[in-house]
């Protein structure tokens, strides 16, 4: 599932844009992974003052959310390349969990500073040159390696639209942006097995219904050999670590680029992966 998705993402984000989202109309800042949709939403959020709680917010009734949840779930199952549908599913089903996560963040000093400062992980906010110059084994360097090897970019995450609270929308957005960093921390690539392993970790760590659904349905698409690996070694490791580690949203990753990845793992309570997944 993921290598074609990665190719798709590569094709849709050919240019890295140095401008922050608000100033740039190019497709590199498209709010979802389809270039067909990009122009409408990005230009409309620029030229029209938004009447929602945050730019890109689309207020929805309970009925609409229910329909969206069912529809997006069906669409995502039908066509796993519809990342926008997975995103919508997460937004419409995650309300209670987002509240829990937000409260968790408020009670943690680092999480609280994240809620106050609202950092965003985008190519425009990352200093790639500085990260490339960091020593081997540092978190920043490893993250950069992950981005290059798997040919992904942090700018391909869809914007949150259907969460009706501005702070919860940020929590959701933070979860999405932290996903790639989790890949780095767990040492998992972006192929199907790696993604499912990360989903199991996230389901255990955050409890978001979308992660749980992904964790349950993802393995159905795995080849038998990989499924066995997942069920015997990778899966239990992911779940155990997800449960015992700190909530991944509580970490101010942007301050920790220089930290050695092993130290960071130890601090969070994440064991290194039991085997390397290719």
């Amino acid at each position: 599932m993921w290598p074609p998705a990665v190719n798709l993402l590569r094709r849709l984000n050919p240019r890295l844009c140095a401008f922050p989202k608000g100033a740039c109309l190019k497709a590199a800042h498209s709010s979802s992974s389809s270039s067909v949709i990009s122009r409408s939403s990005s230009s409309s959020s620029l030229s029209q003052p938004h009447d929602g709680l945050y730019p890109e917010h689309i207020p929805t009734t309970l009925l609409q959310k229910a329909l969206l949840a069912v529809g997006s779930g069906a669409a995502a199952l039908h066509d796993p390349y519809r990342h926008d549908m997975v995103a919508v599913l997460g937004e419409t089903t995650g309300h209670m969990t987002l509240i829990q996560l937000r409260d968790n963040m408020r009670n943690d000093p680092e999480g609280y500073s994240i809620l106050m400062k609202r950092p965003r992980i985008r190519l425009s906010t990352l200093d790639l040159d500085k990260m490339a110059a960091m020593p081997e084994g540092s978190f920043g360097k490893e993250y950069l390696r992950f981005l290059n090897e798997n040919r992904v970019t942090p700018d391909s995450r869809a914007e949150v639209r259907f969460v009706d609270d501005e702070e919860l929308a940020f929590v959701m957005q933070r979860y999405r942006e932290v996903h790639d960093l989790l890949h780095t921390l767990l040492g998992m690539p972006t192929n199907m097995l790696g993604e499912v392993a990360v989903k199991w970790f996230e389901a255990a760590n955050t409890g978001l219904p979308m992660c749980v659904l992904g964790a349950v349905l993802g393995p159905l698409r795995l080849k038998p050999v990989r499924l066995q690996t997942l069920l015997t070694t990778l899966g239990p490791w992911a779940v155990k670590n997800g449960q015992k580690s700190r909530c991944v949203l509580n970490i101010f990753y942007e301050n920790r680029w220089e930290q050695y990845i092993e130290d960071l793992r130890e601090e969070l309570g994440i064991e290194p992966p039991p085997l390397s997944v290719s």
Partner: protein
Amino acid sequence: MAASVGLCTRRIFRVFYTNVYLSASAVWPGSVHGRAPHTTRSLSQEAGDRSTHFGFETVQEEEKAKRVYQVFENVAQKYDVMNDAMSLGVHRLWKDILLHAMNPQPGARLLDVAGGTGDIAFRFLEYIKSQEDKMRKREARSMQTPSWQDISTNYLNEQGEEPKESTAVVCDINKEMLKVGKQKADSMGIVSGLSWVAGDAEELPFGDDEFDIYTIAFGIRNVTHIEQALQEAHRVLKPGGRFMCLEFSKVSNPLLSTIYDTYSFQVIPVLGEVIAGDWKSYQYLVESIRKFPDQEDFKGMIEDAGFYCVSFHNLTGGIVALHSGFKL
């Protein structure tokens, strides 16, 4: 002195000119025809700050065309799928009804404006073909026992005869929609009798008195100046030509209206998001339906453009109305 006279005449000209179009840019539905209250407004709006509606939003007129273009550019690929999903396939019946009301004969020239993906044009060509088949069968049946004289006249006729070819021209302002339509035509194997033209309904790239039938199906509510489009329709039609318009309209039955509104605003944007990945375009679509004048008002607008024998038929309880008028 000459400069100020020129300025004066230009101002006067603009007052007359803007008056005609102000009622099309009225923000409230069921646009009024009263011109007097707008006269004072028109002088202050010479600078070009006229606003109109884009769904429930108010935008500048220049911007509306651009926004509409973007909407259809985004939805073009999934346009037909979405139509089937939103109307549960009923839009096909509406278009079939349009064709049956039109009842085109072989040799007719059709202009389908805002014809995008070509639904009306394809149906037109099929209808003409089946009419021609019917005619041929009728002729064959009536000539079962021809005399030698008949046979020889037939041979002479056949040599000199050129069957009147019906042509359909699909005109749309949006190139993406035309592209999708052309692909459909190719996959259906239609090689002749069909042409695709990019053009603006308010300023058609055709000469006067060219077409027998002008249709615009579910397109006229997206036009910024509806009256201009109606005048253009009048211009390009031949005398005796027919104007036909399918468009979403007002539902009078209150129960059906509630169900329709709930469905429109709750379900359709969700369908747009799930199927086409575009909530906002479909939100615009359902809002633009509410902003369009109702059946009687639109009939009045068509009459104002110079059409005669204007009538309308409600389809599906008034969800869609078929308006028709003739140029005499």
